[in-house]
């Protein structure tokens, strides 16, 4: 399967204004800003690196995948997990935001792809939305498997349905959709692909490490190619600090540490050493 090596857009580092920063679900926010430079080149799976505050107590920037692009505007969908994202969640319309991007590589679509399954765990769905839109634009039949802790934290289902992605929901507590893991739905679908009108599908996934590993195992079992977006802790996002690496197989049978910010965030699942 061809992994993606399309030409990368030029990177920008600029200060922009927040247009909206609204709660999308419990502990999750959708932030929209005007960023023509980044919007123009952004590819599905790419991310921006955000300076949360000029106060140096929170020293490092935070990476967020570009969730959607509309004209000159981009949005990110993020979870409030720590001090950085908590500060971010309190910003509002008119506040300035220091962003760098678009960064990293992107998801690829093999020629003549008939159908696709996107699998998002928690805020991981944010990395897949732009790609889902690209797939649907090509008319590719796309299933969206969306996993969440509970109904209150469920993300993006309406956005997926708006672009005619057939969604399947799972929650850990069963408050909506399948009671269990999103990986169980994936297994069920891949056991009977004809029932779901899937022909030689590709899986695209983003979410917690354990979920990605499980999705990779299932995809491999059913011989379905899989691309995944890694979400490692990141330092510079410019490829120099070597802090965000993951273990990737090399042709000689060994491995090397590759940078999620530069060689990734999208990897072929077969290349990852779990």
């Amino acid at each position: 399967m061809p992994t993606v090596t399309s030409e990368r857009p030029k990177k920008f580092d600029l200060v922009t204004k927040i247009l909206a920063n609204e709660q999308a679900a419990q502990d999750h926010y959708l932030l929209r800003c005007e960023c023509p430079e980044i919007a123009e080149g952004a590819l599905p799976g790419q991310f921006i690196h955000v300076l949360i505050s000029d106060a140096s107590a929170l020293l490092l920037r935070r990476p967020f995948t570009i969730y959607s692009v509309e004209g000159d505007q981009i949005t990110i969908l993020y979870q409030r997990v720590g001090a950085g994202t908590d500060t971010l969640s309190h910003l509002g319309r008119g506040d300035s935001l220091h962003v760098m991007g678009p960064l990293g590589n992107n998801f690829s679509i093999p020629p003549n792809l008939d159908s696709a399954i996107i699998v998002g765990g928690g805020a991981g769905i944010a990395s897949l939305m732009l790609h889902a839109a690209a797939l649907r634009k090509l008319g590719t039949r796309t299933l969206g498997l969306v996993g969440s802790i509970n109904a209150a934290r469920l993300l993006s289902v309406a956005d997926l349905e708006a672009i005619e992605v057939e969604t399947h929901i799972s929650t850990d507590d069963g408050s909506i959709g399948h009671h269990g893991f999103v990986t169980e739905i994936l297994t069920q679908i891949l056991e009977q692909p004809q029932v779901y009108e899937l022909h030689n599908p590709v899986t695209y996934a983003c979410g917690p490490y354990g979920m990605l590993r499980a999705v990779a195992k299932i995809s491999r079992k059913f011989r379905v190619p899989m691309q995944l977006a890694m979400e490692n802790r990141m330092g510079c996002a410019m490829g120099v600090c070597l802090g965000c690496v993951c273990k990737v197989r090399t042709p000689d049978g060994g491995f090397e540490y590759q940078r999620v910010c530069t060689e990734g965030p999208v990897f072929d699942a077969e290349d990852i050493v779990w």
């Binding site: 920008f12 490092l60 802790r233 120099v240 600090c241 802090g243 690496v245 273990k247």
Partner: protein, 307 residues
């Protein structure tokens, strides 16, 4: 240079520079990573990521953690090795008018010697920075830099192998940095890089696991600036060779503190991770300060601390 402004040009340890601001080892890659953001030709010098005799894979994840006003790293000197550096990385940098200083590291003296000899034969290397202070190696690295005898022996061995300007990067993880600084100077170092990262750690209380897989790592960023500044001042008062000051420099004011404490040049490190234009902003800020205060050259500021 801007009309009528002070001279930022300087020669430190035999390295001729347009201005006294470098990028610190391991924080600026091999230059090409920043090409979308800045003009490399404006830098005083660039110090490349630590190079070893053979490629090193680096440490497993997690490798970094953010701490208040700082970050910990335990990268483990992942690098392409000296041959890979010369073949694949140096040609890009050679095209710029900026001195390239190569940081070298190893586990044994012979490795430092081997890397040095290869760099001797390579065009486009302005100086060698001897890393005797990497805290993330289980042998070599910092173990040289915490013992004055080993420091002396290693610096002397490398000194005998090269006519290139030789900087020695000191570890702050010692009882008295002036003892190590003196050993390096006595062994023939042309200059000292002060300081490398400060050994530290962080713990996730929910899992009771260390934030870094290596358990401990090197602390950098604004959190260590006062320590670095104090050590630059101590070393300035103990040895005659020039000092490249580094440790948490984010702004031109930070850099100016280092000059006043005794540094002849400064290196910008962790700031590059946050602001790719940090070195250029700092150069601009230094020039403005010199002009506004009637200081004619950067040399007039070095060690000008009023006590």
């Amino acid at each position: 240079m801007e009309n009528g402004s002070a001279s930022l040009e300087t020669n430190v340890a035999g390295i001729q520079m347009k201005n006294p601001v470098m990028t610190a080892s391991g924080t600026f890659g091999y230059g090409n990573e920043y090409s979308d953001f800045i003009d490399l030709n404006q830098l005083g010098a660039t110090v490349v990521k630590g190079i070893t005799s053979v490629p090193w894979p680096g440490n497993p994840m997690e490798r970094i953690a953010e701490t208040p006003s700082g970050m910990l790293n335990a990268i483990g000197l992942q690098n392409v090795g000296v041959d890979g550096f010369i073949e694949k990385k140096l040609p890009y940098l050679r095209d710029f008018d900026v001195p390239v200083i190569v940081n070298i590291c190893g586990e044994r003296r012979e490795e430092y010697e081997e890397v040095t000899e290869k760099l001797n034969l390579t065009n486009g290397v302005a100086a060698v920075e001897l890393n005797i202070s990497c805290p993330n190696l289980h042998c070599g690295g910092m173990s040289f830099g915490v013992d004055p005898k080993l420091t002396y022996q290693l610096v002397k061995a490398v000194r005998e192998k090269t006519a290139l300007p030789l900087l020695v990067k000191l570890s702050p993880n010692v009882t008295d940095i002036t003892v190590i600084a003196t050993a390096a100077a006595d062994a023939g170092a042309d200059g000292l890089s002060v300081i490398n990262t400060v050994l530290g750690m962080a713990i996730d209380v929910n899992t009771r696991q260390p934030m870094l897989q290596n358990v401990t790592g090197g602390l950098s960023g604004p959190a260590i600036k006062p320590i670095a500044l104090r050590m630059v001042w101590q070393v300035y008062n103990a040895v005659k060779i020039p000092i490249v000051g580094m440790g948490g420099i984010m702004t031109s004011e930070d850099a100016l503190e280092f000059f006043i404490a005794g540094a002849s040049a400064v290196a910008v490190g962790t700031a590059n991770f946050v602001n790719p234009r940090a070195p250029l902003d700092i150069i601009h800020g230094i020039r403005t300060y010199l002009d506004q205060n009637g200081v004619r050259s950067i040399a007039d500021l070095v060690g000008s601390l009023q006590t």
